[in-house]
């Protein structure tokens, strides 16, 4: 318990120090709101704007969850196909890595041209951001697993696909969950980028609107909301892991 406290103490003190200096600087030099809002101003607009923020957050979270779900499904499907057919893997895997270097901010407007201003391009942005870490960690884990496990179930009479269900997929699930934790943290940002380019609702849309009105306190409040939601998504995966994979707990 003492160790846990100390782990939290240092970053908390650092953050408090920065916030205090920030607040003091804004007050002493009388920096105007449209240049830099004081933390207190950000907090108070977070309070007043909360109902609006929550409404937009609902849209963003829905897009993020849909995108994550789709990314998970595609990653598992492609992972199994790549593992079962090494030829497919050597064809697809390098291409997959290269596509990751294309900046999302370039892709998002193109997606809107193809898919319109609805929810689809936002979900696709999330998929594109979340797919990679999940697919890579899942595929690598299956590739690196001890093949003796497969020999064992095969010698017990399991077929090729049964071996996937019995050992290959379960053995790769911990890595899959690690990939999901990374993706979950990205997912909200992914949806926000999609909304930023063109939308009628969502945190990205809200962010663009208040930025154009120079309401920087609201911009910062929205950023806080995005940070909080990203952490919540990460926490959600952790909760699912604790509930569904109890054996992972005892190991560490």
């Amino acid at each position: 318990m003492a160790g846990r406290k100390r782990k939290w103490l240092a970053p908390a003190v650092t953050a408090a120090g920065i916030l205090a200096a920030w607040e003091a600087a804004v007050r002493i030099y009388q920096i105007p709101l449209y240049v830099l809002p004081a933390p207190s101003a950000v907090l108070s607009s977070l309070g007043t704007e909360f109902p609006v923020l929550i409404r937009h957050a609902g849209v963003t979270v829905a897009e993020a969850l849909a995108g994550m779900g789709l990314a998970l499904f595609l990653a598992v499907l492609l992972g199994i196909i790549m593992d079962a057919f090494p030829g497919v893997k050597s064809g697809i895997y390098p291409v997959l890595v290269v596509t990751q270097t294309v900046p999302m901010i370039v892709l998002a407007p193109i997606l809107i041209i193809y898919l319109g201003f609805g929810i689809a391009p936002k979900i696709l942005t999330v998929v594109l951001m979340c797919f990679f870490p999940v697919a890579v960690s899942f595929t690598d884990a299956m590739g690196q697993m001890d093949e003796e496990y497969v020999h064992l179930v095969r010698s017990f009479g399991a077929g090729k696909w049964q071996a996937y269900r019995l050992v290959k997929i379960p053995a790769a699930v911990p890595a899959l969950v690690s990939g999901l934790k990374v993706s979950a943290t990205y997912s909200i940002s992914g949806a926000v980028v999609g909304e930023w380019i063109g939308a009628q609702s969502g945190l990205g849309y809200y962010l663009l609107r208040v930025k154009n009105g120079y309401m920087l306190d609201k911009v910062f409040a929205c950023v806080l909301m995005i940070v909080g939601l990203s952490l919540c998504m990460n926490g959600l995966i952790r909760l699912i892991q604790m509930a569904a994979l109890p054996y992972m707990e005892k190991k560490h």
Binding site: H151, V153, R154, S155, F156, G157, A158, A171, P246, Y247
Partner: protein
């Protein structure tokens, strides 16, 4: 003959590991293959289960030639290979799960838990068990296979000396009640003497160079009996070391 192996050969890429291997096992017999590490013991078991394909030779079960994975063998690998994501009960019921008899397998497993020293640990995960218990669980998983022949690959090789001794005592006591055909491979001479009806000494590519049958003393085998087997031990030692010396002089 329950199991016959004739002229079996196998190479990893271009290195020949097994060459012209021949042996036979009778129904209900407990046979050990004894050999140094790296001489190809695990490979033989992989050829029998069909995980690897021999480059030549035949494997016959009950007089009929078999090829590939036939399910005639219940294999216990060198490492326990219990699934960390399943509890002990589900781990030992693997055969039932694969062949669609899970409920029956559970029932059968619960009857055996106590005898295998696993009573009360049905719902535990493998990571919370001791090495000896994990090995017993792996053995129970193999024993619950409805296959005719058990193949055990150095089942106690990874355990400390004391636990290994306990496990050997335990396996000896199980032998009588189990009454199944067993092929055990090991590098441990005492283990082979203590447990087997017949010992086959494997010397790499020279195949099986010697066959020995330890006696069955009045009142059954015991550690005391094992310690008095100096002559047998000496012969085995000469056989293995002699070959090694010959090979080194070539």
């Amino acid at each position: 003959m329950k199991l016959e192996v004739s002229g079996l050969s196998f190479s990893y890429s271009d290195r020949e590991v097994i060459k012209d291997l021949n042996f036979q096992i009778k129904e209900g017999e407990f046979v050990s293959i004894l050999g140094a590490s790296g001489c190809g013991k695990s490979t033989i078991l992989k050829l029998l289960t069909g995980v690897r394909k021999p480059s030549s030779g035949k494997i016959l079960v009950d007089g009929e030639e078999i090829k590939g994975m036939t399910g005639h063998f219940a294999y216990m690998p060198q490492n326990d290979l219990l699934f960390p994501w399943k509890n002990i009960l589900d781990n030992v019921c693997l055969y039932g799960r694969i062949h669609g008899g899970l409920d029956q397998a559970r029932e059968e497993a619960m009857k055996n838990m106590e005898a295998f020293g696993l009573g009360g640990y049905e719902k535990s995960y493998p990571s919370s068990l001791s090495g000896g218990m994990r090995q017993r669980a792996a053995f129970l998983r193999t024993a619950l296979c409805q296959s005719d022949i058990l193949l055990l690959d150095e089942p106690f090789g990874a355990l400390d000396v004391i636990t290994r001794g306990e496990m050997q005592d335990w396996l000896l006591s199980m032998r009588e009640t189990m009454n199944r055909t067993v092929l055990l491979v090991t590098h441990d001479m005492d283990e082979a003497i203590y447990l087997s009806d017949r010992i086959l000494i494997l010397s790499g590519c020279s195949g099986i160079t010697c066959e020995l049958s330890p006696e069955n003393p009045e009142g059954g085998r015991s550690r005391e009996w094992l310690y008095s087997q100096g002559k047998l031990r000496q012969r085995i030692h000469r056989e293995i070391m002699g070959r090694r010396l010959d090979e080194n002089h070539l």
